[in-house]
Symmetry: C2
Subunit: 80 residues, 2 copies
Amino acid sequence: MKVNVYVTLKKGVLDPQGKAVAGALVELGFKGLRGLKIGKFMELDLDVQTAQDARKLAEEMCRKLLANTVIEDFRVEVEG
Amino acid sequence: MKVNVYVTLKKGVLDPQGKAVAGALVELGFKGLRGLKIGKFMELDLDVQTAQDARKLAEEMCRKLLANTVIEDFRVEVEG
């Protein structure tokens, strides 16, 4: 079962990578950029029977390894 | 206007980061992981009038900087 995981920095946590990329876009001449935040996106393929099991397993993986829950939020999305 | 950008490796491109994380999950005792791919997820805030303009600007940013189109695909999703 395909599961998408999105890991983003919590509100208020500094995002130097996002800041650097935003600065680079401005230097390239892009106008109209008000903000840019960078996170991680993971596509998991899980060998489980139900969407519920997939969500449970993916969330457990996030808490144990995929996200640093001190500074990051995660969102799990089970595909069809 | 809020725009989400997803950057993923093209099919066939090696993903050592994904492989390392998948290996770590197995070592942590997780079962049932068939595959894991890691990409980037960016949240842009653009100062434009229409969703069409937002998409156009974000796609241009992807082609110029945010994605390495030799090895990466990108997907742009304009919110509300």
